[in-house]
Symmetry: C2
Amino acid sequence: YEYQAEELTYFRGLEAVTLDGHRVVLRSNIEIAEEVPIALREGAQGVGLFRTEFLYMKRNHVPSEEEQLSAYRQIIESMAPHPVTIRTLDVGGDKLVSGIDLSDEANPAMGLRAIRFSLKEKNLFKVQLRAILRASAFGNARILFPMITGVAEIKSCKCLLQEIRQELVAEGHAFDPDIEIGIMIETPAAALVTELLAREVDFLSVGTNDLIQYCLAVDRGNEHVAYLFEPLHPAILRTLRMICDAAKQAGVMVGICGEMAGDPLYALVLLGLGFDEWSMNAPYISQVKRIIRQVHRPEAERLVEELFELGSAPEAARRLAGEMNKRF
Amino acid sequence: YEYQAEELTYFRGLEAVTLDGHRVVLRSNIEIAEEVPIALREGAQGVGLFRTEFLYMKRNHVPSEEEQLSAYRQIIESMAPHPVTIRTLDVGGDKLVSGIDLSDEANPAMGLRAIRFSLKEKNLFKVQLRAILRASAFGNARILFPMITGVAEIKSCKCLLQEIRQELVAEGHAFDPDIEIGIMIETPAAALVTELLAREVDFLSVGTNDLIQYCLAVDRGNEHVAYLFEPLHPAILRTLRMICDAAKQAGVMVGICGEMAGDPLYALVLLGLGFDEWSMNAPYISQVKRIIRQVHRPEAERLVEELFELGSAPEAARRLAGEMNKRF
Ligand SMILES: [Mg+2]
Ligand SMILES: [Mg+2]
C-alpha cells in the first residue's frame, strides 16, 4: 500500500473524498517557510501544524515580535485562503534563552514544557501571541496550544489573548477578531476529559506521538522500550475513539497531527474513527489520499470495529496489515 | 478530619466496616521486616505492598535466592495467616548491579524499569520469583507485577512462573501451588484495558502516584510542575472509576496502594469508588478506619457522583474538603 512518489502525482489536484462522498481535510505539518511551496504542490489544504520551535532554536536569542510577525505573515500569505495552524512554543526552557534553569529535570518530557513553560514565562508567551494575532490580519491563521491537561490552562491562554487584543486595538494594529483557537490532545488526561476541553475551543488536534508515549509510559526515543510503543495497542485505539466521540458530541472539529496521520498503514483506521482533519508531512498527502479515495467510509468503520474486538496490538497489526495488503 | 495518633488507638482492634456493614480490607505498605510489628500493632490485615527494592539497593551485590527467601519468609511467617503481597523489583537498572547501562535514558520514568527491566534481565527475575515461590510455603504470599501495560507482559510473567514451578517440583522444594498473582494498574494504558488484564490475574492494585503522573504527564518529583499533580483532576476520577467498574465486572479484587490510600482526605472517595483493599503506611490505618466506620457507603457513593459533576480539580477539592470538615 505504499506507492512511489512519481505514481502519486495524479492525486495532487484531487480531493480527499471516499467512494461514498465523505470528505476529509488533508493538511501539511511545516517548520519553515521553505516547506510551503512543497505543501502547496502536494495539494495540502493549509497547514495543520506549524511548529514554531525552529524560530526560537536557530538563533541564540529569543525572536522578537517583529521577527516572528514576519515569519508567520509570510507563511499565512502564501497559504491563503487556507488556514495556517500556528502551535505556540512546544519545548522546555532548557532549549531556550531563559531565566529558568531546567537542566535538573529528571524526566523533562513530564516537566516544564510547552504550555506550562509559556504560562510561566508570560512575557515571552505574550510576544509570540502578539506576533500571531498581528499576522492573522494577513490571511487565515489559527492558534494551537500544546500539552493542555485541563480547562484552567485554556482559560489562562484565552485571558492572555483577550488582554493582547485590547493592547493591539489601542495600538492600532490589525488582527483577525475571529481567529480560531485550538488545543493539542496529547496527554491521557486531556483525552479523558475531551468534552470539558472542547467547550472552550474551536478545534482539537490529537498529537499521537506524545499521547501514545504518556499512555503507555514509554519514552518513544528510548531504544530499550521502543518495542512497547504500539499505536494499535487496544488502550490507544480506545483513547482515540473516546476523543473522536467526545469531539463529535461537542460539535468541535477534531484533527490529528502525529506520525499516525501520515502513515498510510493507519489511513483506514483514522477514517473509521472519524478524524476530520489530518495533518502530515507534505510528501505523504498523496499516499494517504489515494487510500481514502478507494474506500467506502462504512468499510473503514467496520474494520475499526473489528480491531476493537482484538485484545492486543500484534493481533490488530496483523489484521490491519492483511487488510491493507489485500486492498492496496 | 486528621486525628492525633493517641486518640486513634481505640480503632486498632476494630474492623474497617461502614455503618451499613460494608467491609473494606486495610493493609500495610512495608519495605523492611522491622515494619511488620508496627503493621500488626496498627491492625493491618496483611501487607498490601511489600516493596523489594530495598533488598537490592542496600547491598552492592544482587541478593541471592537464599537471602531473598529468608527476607520474604520472615515477613510471611510474621504476618500469617494474613497475606503478604510481594511486588517484584520496581526500579530501572541504573540503580542496580546489572549489565545494562541505563544512565543515558532521557526520561527514566518512561524507560526500562520495573517489569520491563525484569523481563529483559530474566536471570535476575527468575532468582526473585524462585525466592518468592519458595517463601510462599511458609504462609500466605501473593505476587504483584509492577508497570504492566498489556496482556503480553502478564503472559510472559506467568510463563516464567510455570517454568519455575516445574524446577521447584523437580528439586523437591515446597511452594504454595495456588499463590495469587496480581498486577499494578499504574499506567493509563493499563487503566484503559483493565478488563483485558483482569482476566489474566487474581487481583489488581492501583498505584495512584504513577497513574496520576503518567495521566497528567507530570513528573511528581519536579517542583516546576508539582501544581499540576492533582488527584481530584476529573481525568483521574474517571480513570479510577473505569478501573473499579472493569474490576467489578471481571469479578476481580481491586486494591489501591498509592499515597491516596493513606490520606484520610480521600477515604470517602475511595469508598464511593468501590476499592476492596487499601494499602498504606501503617500509621494511617486508624485514621482511615475511623472515617470508614462513621459513614454509610451510599453517602460516599453520592459524594463521588457529585465530584464527577464538577469540571475541575479545584472545585472537587473544595467540595471534598467542605464535606470532610463538616463530618469529621
Ligand atoms: Mg507533543
Ligand atoms: Mg509505581
